[in-house]
Symmetry: C2
Subunit: 147 residues, 2 copies
């Protein structure tokens, strides 16, 4: 039987979170954290609403997943996030020792790849999953903002 | 008249926070954020108590200071922290556009200098303020832990 729980399946959930951020006037980035095909955390960027630069989608999901698991290490978890994590979020993911990070669109300016942020050596990274959908949402957001 | 509000004055306040962390069994790191010689945020590492890798002293103080100021940018603020910030905290400080960072002891392994994390171009950094006191507290903590 075909596996329903593909990277695309979970990235769609992260994109739904990004859409919620969009509707709130937040830069549209969404994230979910998955363990054994189960979503244990979902979040979207809330930096404007909370007046807090640390309220990125990834940070909230890391905290929520650790609360759910009752431990601070996310060793058997996968993070799905619509945009490439920044230095701060990659730094938090480093501490969490997360197993896998799947992201959508690249962030050419502020992404951890460009910035040279180190992930945990055990963390596997997959990029470009539904990247066009994530990038289109960002473009639509900034286009509407300029109006 | 002599200025009482020196970097050492505020670093002592951060060290007091680090002592509180120590008593709670947390890696002893403390921080305060100051604007116009007034402390608007104080915090200490709570990663063990909160089961959360994001609960570093700096992260909590950034959130608290932004709440106090009613805005997410910390442009006229100085962070005093007993240990050199990590990638995550330096990444958060980057987003906050904080004016000045004063830290005590170097973190040769996980500090942002070694890791190559970028701060905001407008941020001034001062290191080594009461570094021996901060380092001694860390050494004492790990020595007691090994017992």
């Amino acid at each position: 039987m075909e596996n329903l729980f593909t990277d695309e399946y979970f990235m769609k959930k992260a994109l739904q979170e990004a859409e919620v951020a969009f509707e709130k006037g937040e830069i549209p980035v969404g994230a979910v954290i998955v363990v054994a095909d189960k979503i244990i955390a979902r979040s979207h960027n809330l930096t404007e609403m909370l007046n807090d630069v640390t309220a990125h989608a990834e940070m909230q999901s890391i905290t929520a997943a650790a609360n759910f698991l009752g431990g601070k290490y996310l060793k058997d978890c996968t993070l799905y996030v619509t945009l490439e994590p920044c230095q701060m979020c990659a730094g938090a993911l480093y501490w969490s020792q997360i197993s896998k990070i799947v992201y959508g669109a690249n962030d050419e300016h502020r992404g951890f790849t460009k910035m040279g942020t180190q992930l945990h050596p055990k963390t596997v990274v997959v990029s470009g999953v539904m990247a066009n959908e994530a990038a289109d949402l960002m473009k639509r957001f900034f286009k509407e903002r300029r109006k």
